[in-house]
């Protein structure tokens, strides 16, 4: 009996590694601290009422933002561990298996649980406000999306201390990730976490597409939409097309693992290439899912901080859509070396190179927008400008990689690592940070401290080049990716050392950002105007933070850069009659705890499946069905804000 318990415990908990014991202790301590603080300050009710049950897109956006920073921390710690291991030859810091687990969780977390929610955070915060809508099309579904993402992230993170982390790379290629070569539960964690967050992402894609297509304020034609909103249109279209293949791909691999089917095994007719193809049919478009919104942010920021309208608006829109379409014709460039014929390789090489054209168009448009503008170098602008040289290098090395014969040299070397970090960090992460700084006042009514922010910026930026430029060299010298150690005398030692120093600088930059946020919450400058940057788009016409119903009166849009136009007209003394139009009652959705409960049930089902505890999975599944049935029978799903209340609330903002 005791033996059984012991056996179970040793498979269930990851034992024998001091780092993991450390994580155990910190998880217990952190949870205890959270429980204590919530209980001591009697905040459980507040947490439940204001956050866990909310369907307000602005609050959901804030929760996404917090989760993004937490996951950036987790993925960043992984990165520091890896770079520490590689600082010199033969480091005894991480063992090979542990290194495998860390690069796998690092990649997975950064792409799916940091970049994705970062993008979702920004779109939740800005899109409905930019198009003059009261909410997203399906607020309840929006809450489900968030909680599905959140609990999927918890599931993946849990694997570190329970059961063991996945270790087959963030791409989780079969047959390496199949049952034959990878017994442990780690891969199950990966597959189930991604399936659950995938449901949420797909729902977000549909939700925002419908929102933008159907809920724009009167007068806001498609060609009057802010460019950030346009970038989200492109993103949601990619999500809608790219996530179904991923869902199927991971589902089939899960089948192979749990039900011993033969999709991707090398026995009984399975075909692992099928996995690789479907993975990248999602995987390549995915990089545009995370980078196009960043492009959107840069368009807004560059225009606002240059006090000019964006140069070449129509070409900006066209290039977004072109990228969205072409991104589906490039997936084979991820396996040029796996034996496709010259015809196939050439097609995908050319398709890949073509993407450089619309991307180049965008970069030149940003430059022309800045040209002769009245430029202010606030934090959002700083990150946007820093993006440009960086994307020039990352783009150039990308085109180098797209040349199929050359790829035979670069493939899976540190050259590739340097390239994709340059575009993922310099594009996506810089975009998320620029967007965070830009919309932070709108979220919280506080402007983040510029001085600490500048220190953070320079540390992160210089560290970024110091970290990744040497890796291009390392790649040329033959250092391959996913390598946990190397021998002295290869000529790699110095470059690796420099690279690790750069990584530490970036770590310092991140800590400074955290300090900046804490400092600004305590002492930061309040934004009382609602328009701290002298903005151009509608979100700046509202108080910061915006009231939960967003617009007391839905504005009528007469041109692009709607808020700028209104400000111009005000300056000229033109007033609009609808500003005096009587207020009308507003319908708003009720809060609901069910999205949270539903996602907890998904979490339980996922956890049970990881360990093939089918009875528990079955119970959770019944629970999921039950909550769907309850929703179907719910008719009383919204309430009305009366004119009285509205007048009251608007008066409190000084706006009646």
């Amino acid at each position: 009996m005791l033996q059984n318990v012991e056996n179970f415990a040793s498979h269930f908990f990851v034992l024998g590694d001091p780092m993991i014991y450390g994580a155990d202790v910190s998880i217990v301590l952190a949870s205890a601290a959270i429980v204590f603080v919530l209980t001591y300050y009697k905040k459980w009710g507040y947490l439940w009422r204001e956050w866990l049950t909310t369907v307000d897109h602005k609050k959901i956006g804030i929760m996404y933002m917090i989760a993004t920073l937490l996951m950036l921390f987790r993925g960043g710690v992984d990165a520091m561990l890896m770079r520490t291991q590689l600082i010199m030859p033969g480091m005894p810091f991480l063992k090979a298996q542990h290194y495998n687990e860390i690069f796998t969780t690092h990649g997975t977390i950064m792409i799916l649980f940091m970049a994705m929610p970062g993008v979702f955070a920004l779109m939740n915060i800005a899109v409905p406000l930019q198009i003059g809508a009261r909410d997203v099309a399906f607020p309840y579904l929006n809450a489900i999306s968030f909680w599905m993402f959140f609990f999927a992230a918890m599931l993946l993170n849990l694997s570190f201390v329970i059961g063991g982390s996945p270790d087959a790379g963030w791409t989780s290629y079969a047959p390496l990730a199949g049952l034959t070569f990878d017994k442990g539960p780690g891969e199950n964690f990966y597959l189930l976490a991604l399936e659950i967050t995938g449901i949420g992402s797909m729902a977000t894609g549909i939700n925002f597409f419908v929102t933008i297509m159907k809920l724009r304020a009167p007068g806001m034609t498609l060609m009057r939409m802010p460019l950030f909103t346009w970038s989200i249109v492109a993103t949601t279209v990619i999500i809608i097309f790219a996530f179904p293949p991923l869902t199927v791909d991971l589902g089939l691999l899960l089948f192979d693992r749990l039900a011993s089917s033969h999709f991707f095994t090398i026995f009984d007719g399975g075909n692992p290439m099928m996995y690789v193809n479907m993975f990248w049919m999602w995987g390549h478009p995915e990089v545009y899912i995370v980078v196009l919104p960043a492009f959107g942010v840069f368009s807004e920021v560059v225009a606002t901080f240059s006090k000019k309208r964006t140069f070449g608006y129509a070409s900006m829109v066209a290039s977004l859509l072109a990228i969205a379409v072409i991104s589906f014709f490039t997936w084979v460039h991820h396996f040029f070396t796996m034996g496709a014929g010259p015809g196939v390789n050439s097609f995908f090489a050319v398709a890949t190179m073509i993407i450089a054209i619309p991307t180049g168009v965008k970069v030149f448009n940003w430059l022309f927008t800045m040209y002769q503008g009245r430029i202010r170098m606030n934090l959002p602008m700083l990150w946007a400008v820093a993006f440009i040289p960086n994307f020039a290098i990352g783009g150039a090395t990308g085109v180098m990689l797209s040349v199929a014969p050359a790829d035979y040299q670069f493939h899976n070397s540190y050259f590739l690592i340097a390239h994709f970090h340059q575009v993922l960090i310099g594009g996506t992460l810089f975009g998320i940070l620029a967007g965070m700084y830009y919309w932070w006042p709108k979220m919280f009514g506080v402007i983040l401290d510029e001085k600490i922010g500048r220190w953070a910026f320079w540390f992160f930026n210089i560290g970024f080049y110091v970290c990744f430029l040497p890796q291009y060299w390392l790649g040329w010298m033959g250092m391959t990716r996913r390598m946990y150690t190397y021998l002295p005398g290869m000529g790699w030692t110095m470059w690796n050392f420099i690279s690790t120093m750069g990584a530490y600088m970036m770590g310092t930059g991140f800590i400074l950002i955290v300090i900046q946020i804490i400092y600004s919450i305590l002492y930061g400058e309040r934004d009382l105007t609602g328009d701290p940057w002298d903005g151009r788009t509608l979100e700046w016409s509202l108080p910061s933070p915006a009231p939960h119903y967003n617009f007391a009166r839905i504005p009528t849009i007469t041109g692009r850069d709607a808020w700028w136009t209104m400000k111009e007209e005000q300056r000229k003394g033109i007033t609009h009659s609808e500003e005096e139009a009587p207020l009308k009652p507003i319908h708003m959705p009720n809060d609901s705890g069910r999205p949270f409960v539903l996602s907890v049930l998904f979490f339980i089902a996922g956890f049970a499946l990881v360990f093939t505890w089918y009875p528990l999975a079955f119970v959770a599944f019944i629970g999921i069905l039950a909550s769907l049935v309850m929703r179907s029978f719910e008719y009383d799903t919204d309430h009305t804000i009366s004119v009285e209340e509205l007048r009251h609330s608007e008066a409190a903002y000084g706006r009646v």
């Binding site: 909410d135 549909i206 869902t247 089917s261 999709f263 095994t265 009984d268 007719g269 319908h587 008719y635």
Partner: protein
Amino acid sequence: MAMVDSFIKAPSTHRIPLEYTHEEDALRIFGFWIFLATDLLLFASLFATYSVLYRHVGHGPGPLQIFDVTGFSAETFILLTSSFTCGLSTYSMHRGQKGWMMAWMAVTILLGISFISFELTEFVGDVAQGATLQTSAFLSAFFTLVGTHGAHVSLGIGWMTLIFIQLAVHGLTATTARKAFIVSLYWHFLDVVWIFIFTIVYLLGEMS
């Protein structure tokens, strides 16, 4: 649900179908169309997998050994008929005949149940012959593709039953009309997918 300003009915109510009279319901129907597009892509991925793997029979039986012509012909006939009765239900709804609408819905549900029973019988027969999910890549792909469709149909049956109950309780309102309309879209969609399964899996299998 959208935060559309008002619940005021559009002026020409008599010409707009009931399920479209509230802007929010129209929004949901539009959203559901997009969802169907993603579901179609999901099936497309499964079809692609099946097309790559259907010759990979390993040591197991091939399509000719396991496909049962009477079985899949009956399934096809039943499902196509159910799509028709489902259409009749929507037609009655638009004419405001709640009784007929529910009657046709009930017929659709019963046809759905008999479709599923045929499919289950077929699957059980295959497994009895030793043709299981674990036998070969072809069979994995076959059971997954057809099974995913079957799971969709089962879900559709449960869903339609819920709406049937709500129609009985709340009567025919804009909300129940929207719900019934959406489930009917779903049902027709499954019919379309089945036609692909019928052609690509069963007919091509019989010809191989």
